[in-house]
Amino acid sequence: MSGAKENVEPASLDPAAKAELDRAFEELYRDHLKDVYSYAYYRVGNQHDAEDLTEQAFLQAYRHFDRARRESDGRPLRPWLIRIAHNLALNYYRDRSRRPQTPLDSADPIPARHGTEAIAEGREELRQVMEKLDCLGDDRRDALIMRFALGMDNREIARALGRSDGATKVLIHRAIKQLEEEMSDE
């Protein structure tokens, strides 16, 4: 991030307001770091780029935090944060002009949540579903990542993707249906 001498909005506030804003931002960071990182990780597929994307997402969030808080009307800011990460991820892929295909050897394995035996039994299915997920359109894949990795509800996903609630419900339904069909074709 060398040379990033940017227009950081909160720096222009008076000290007391800035301290309050920083405290609120710290809380936002603490509450949602895992969400943003999980989204970034599943989106870009490796730890290194996920860290970069997470850091950039929070830097952007910090820059616009004051305004976002004022305009949020008390609504949760998680969809806004994820939307920032979503847009950064789109730029990331646009910049590379293609979706990455080469496996990583330096990234850590997906952390285990269940017992080893259960994972061994389900691994082939998990591998398949991850492959099929990668073949979905951007919005369908992202909506499923938001739903299942982050536990976001339809309304939150709608706000993160800039869609209506109804369109998001249909998007998720179709994404799951498409995965089911493709899994059945295997």
């Binding site: 990033a4 990182y37 999980s38 780029d49 979706r99 295909q101 082939e124 998990l126 579903v129 799951i176």
Partner: protein, 115 residues
């Protein structure tokens, strides 16, 4: 019945359950918070220094001129341009790093879930 075989109901996959298992929340590495704090502190410090040195360089007449709202458009445009330039720097940094590492998306994650 094993967990894996339960995932099949007739000919239909229980995709929602598979997704729930596959897309687990990922704990961020501990170093990330420290790294973010360092970057944020460097960025805000740099911005404060820029503002401060900019103000010191202004003459009294320039300061008077700045108080005139008719002259506010230029600084606003300059500040916006600064923000855009910063965004570009940030993207360049990501691009530079990504060039060094050809890395995979979900497909590579899938590849690492070995049977």
């Amino acid at each position: 019945m094993s967990e894996a075989s339960e995932r099949l109901t007739g000919s239909t996959w229980d995709v929602e359950r598979l997704l729930g298992d596959a897309l687990r929340p990922i704990e961020p590495p501990e170093r990330l918070s420290g790294r973010f704090e360092d970057t944020l502190s460097a960025v805000t410090q740099a911005a404060a220094e820029e503002l401060s040195s900019w103000a010191e360089e202004l003459s009294e007449s320039e300061l008077r001129s700045l108080r005139d709202p008719r002259n506010w458009v230029r600084p606003v445009v300059a500040a916006s341009a600064g923000g855009v330039a910063t965004g570009a720097l940030v993207l360049l940094e990501i691009r530079r790093r990504s060039r060094h590492q050809a890395r995979g998306g979900l497909r590579s994650l899938a590849g690492r879930v070995r049977p």
